[in-house]
């Protein structure tokens, strides 16, 4: 092969370098630099995403150490109460981001005090902080992720889907949450909370993760489409006006019976007292004696 534009002397010099004993090392270094540079240039986004994800996990870990680790352990492994099976806080390995988003996003966690059940209360973390906490807990082990917005956006459900959602709701949910989602009592001070005013995302996450005593309803059995229909039904029931007057919490015969007995009975007693009361009289004129005067 000939290189007409390159002088023979120069070619000879390159050939001499090629045979230098450090040439191999130099070529490898140049190649590695080129590949690394090309990778960094061609895929900047994924590299940045990885960094931000690990930043998020680290941010979540810092929040976790301050707000959660006293009960759930420094690495989310849970804290046992002495040598018993009971714990101060369960292990969070494998609970997934969905569980964190539900528990922290509804204010149930961090728990204010030990009790039969963590009640819903004011949310103490911002959305960004919850996202970071969820990312950290999700990094501890594989678990359910925060549901896709496609399944928590309940707008545009057809009447047929709502009806089917109602069937699923009555079969799976009403035993604890009541036929209109008003909630109900459980043993030992626990309760199934009311579903009114709960965000669709949180209802979905509760079904997915089974918080506290609630059973899990996995996506494999109750599909994401079914879950969306159930949430849509709950919201449609919530939006209905009270066709029968005061709903009295929707607890059925208990609250209605109490009100009918106390208010209804009181009204009947008051009416009876009014009807049979003697009423005011003019005492300075005796009717009977005046009648007698007239008779005479």
């Amino acid at each position: 092969m000939r290189f007409p534009l390159i002088r023979r002397g120069a070619l000879r010099r390159v050939s001499a370098w090629r045979r230098h004993r450090l040439a191999g090392l130099a070529v490898v270094l140049v190649a590695l630099t080129a590949i690394g540079g090309a990778y960094a240039t061609l895929s900047p986004e994924s590299a940045e995403a990885d960094n931000s994800q690990s930043d998020l996990v680290e941010e979540g870990r810092q929040l976790f150490l301050v707000g959660c680790s006293s009960c759930h352990g420094l690495n989310g492994e849970g804290v046992l109460a002495g040598d018993t099976d009971r714990n101060y806080g369960p292990s969070l390995v494998g609970v997934g981001a969905a569980a964190v988003d539900f528990q922290v996003g509804t204010g149930r966690m961090p728990m204010a005090a030990p009790g039969p059940q963590a009640p819903q209360k004011k949310v103490v973390y911002t959305d960004e902080e919850i996202e970071a906490l969820a990312a950290y807990v999700a990094s501890l082990g594989p678990g359910p992720a925060i549901p896709d917005e496609e399944y928590t956006d309940i707008s545009g459900l057809s009447q047929e889907e709502l009806t089917e959602g109602g069937e699923f709701f009555r079969t799976n949910c009403t035993a604890c949450h009541n036929s209109v989602g008003a909630g109900g009592a459980l043993p030992s001070g626990r309760f199934a909370p009311s579903l009114h005013g709960v965000e669709p995302k949180h209802i979905y996450e509760a079904m997915l993760t089974g918080p506290q005593q609630m059973p899990v309803f996995s996506d494999a059995v109750i599909t994401p489409e079914d879950k969306r229909a159930i949430i849509g039904y709950i919201k449609s029931v919530e939006e209905q006006p009270d066709h029968g007057g005061f709903s009295l919490g929707g607890f059925g015969p208990v609250s209605e019976g109490v009100v009918v007995f106390l208010v209804g009975m009181a009204a009947l007693v008051a009416a009876t007292i009014w009807i049979t009361s003697h009423g005011s009289r003019v005492t300075n004129v005796s009717k009977r004696s005046s009648d007698r005067e007239a008779d005479r």
Partner: protein, 363 residues
């Protein structure tokens, strides 16, 4: 001599509370105080007040008329899907107008009686309920005469055929009530549609279930495959899905719940060690107390509760009753997996499902 007469005999001007002149009968140490003195109402003595009450009562009746007319107007005028103060506008206006009209008619009537109608207290005394001797004798005479004149005793053919016609009238009742039966047989009470190899499917959706679909702490309200139509007639035919009354009767006994519990926490009764599939247990959904459907499951305590009377069953402990009026454990169904990996029943329930009754178990 009645009390009324006695009171009238008292000298005029004598105090009403003065004891009777005669000695009280033995055993009645408290003298009869008589009636208290009666005074007129303000409306009896003040004509202006009387007119005011008259206007008041007439006003109530007038308003009731308007409200009733308002009801008629509202029935047509108020649209169905409108709300008023957070209530359904139609129901609210209909209830308020008709209820208000009835209330005002009642209030007006009571006010009329209390303030304007003639007002004098009287006392009436109880008397024997039986009619007088003369009335009774007359009634008996009429009955005897009628019986003789109708010839009921003489024309026996008419009488007997009438009795026959009236007697047969009882038959339709018997025939209609017959459909309440037949009495359930031991066979119909003891067995359900579960058979070996029948798939356990998700209620409502009808989809078969794989063990890996269930996570720890999961609850599935399930049915035998023959009780949930899939929506595809050919597939229904293949499975043998039941219809109509047959389906409802079968469903009343065959509904089940699946739960998945950590196998380490399960203490199966003797002989049921292999009734679960990887911690998935299947129990009847019908409470053994009076037969309410139960699926109120606490995943951490493994207890299922009946909402009717708070019977509580520990599903990790063979469905044992831990609280409440039920006294039979919840019947368990043995689970298996078929060749395609779906959960199936390994046979029917071994105990009777459904509510308990005194004859149960007295063979």
């Amino acid at each position: 001599m009645s009390d009324q007469d006695r009171r009238d005999e008292r000298p005029p001007g004598a105090g009403e509370l003065e004891p009777r002149a005669e000695a009280p009968p033995p055993g009645d140490p408290i003298p009869d105080p008589g009636l208290p003195e009666e005074f007129p109402r303000p409306s009896d003595v003040d004509p202006a007040l009387e007119r005011r009450y008259e206007r008041q009562v007439a006003g109530m009746f007038g308003l009731a008329t308007l409200l009733t007319l308002g009801f008629c107007v509202a029935y047509f005028a108020v649209p169905e899907d409108q709300t008023l103060f957070g209530f359904d506008a139609l129901n609210f206006t209909l209830g308020m107008t008709l209820g208000g009209a009835l209330l005002l008619i009642g209030l007006g009537a009571v006010q009329w009686a209390r303030q304007l109608m003639h007002n004098e207290e009287i006392d009436e005394h109880r008397h024997s309920i039986a009619s007088s001797e003369e009335d009774r004798a007359a009634a008996l005479a009429i009955t005897t005469t009628s019986a003789a004149e109708s010839g009921l005793g003489r024309r026996t053919m008419i009488r007997n055929s009438l009795f026959g016609a009236l007697g047969v009238l009882g038959l339709p009742t018997v025939i209609l009530l017959r459909d309440l039966g037949p009495l359930p047989t031991d066979e119909s009470l003891r067995t359900t549609v579960w058979t070996k190899g029948m798939r356990v499917v998700n209620d409502v959706a009808g989809t078969p279930i794989r063990p890996e679909d269930l996570e720890l702490g999961q609850l599935v309200n399930a049915e035998p495959a023959v009780l949930v139509p899939t929506g595809d007639p050919e597939q229904d035919e293949e499975i043998g899905v039941l219809h109509g009354v047959e389906l409802l009767n079968a469903k009343a006994k065959a509904a089940v719940i699946l739960v998945r519990i950590d196998p380490q926490e399960i203490t199966p009764p003797a002989g049921r060690e292999d009734w679960d599939v990887a911690g998935i247990l299947c129990y009847s959904k019908i409470c053994t107390h009076v037969g309410c459907p139960i699926s109120l499951w606490e995943q951490q305590t493994h207890n299922v509760l009946c909402p009717c009377h708070q019977s509580t069953f520990d599903l990790a402990d063979g469905g044992k009753v831990t609280f409440g009026p039920a006294h039979r454990p919840l019947p368990q169904l043995q689970l298996g997996v078929d060749a395609e990996g779906y959960l199936i029943a390994m046979g029917d329930f071994q105990e009777q499902v459904g509510p308990s009754y005194p004859e149960l178990g007295r063979d």
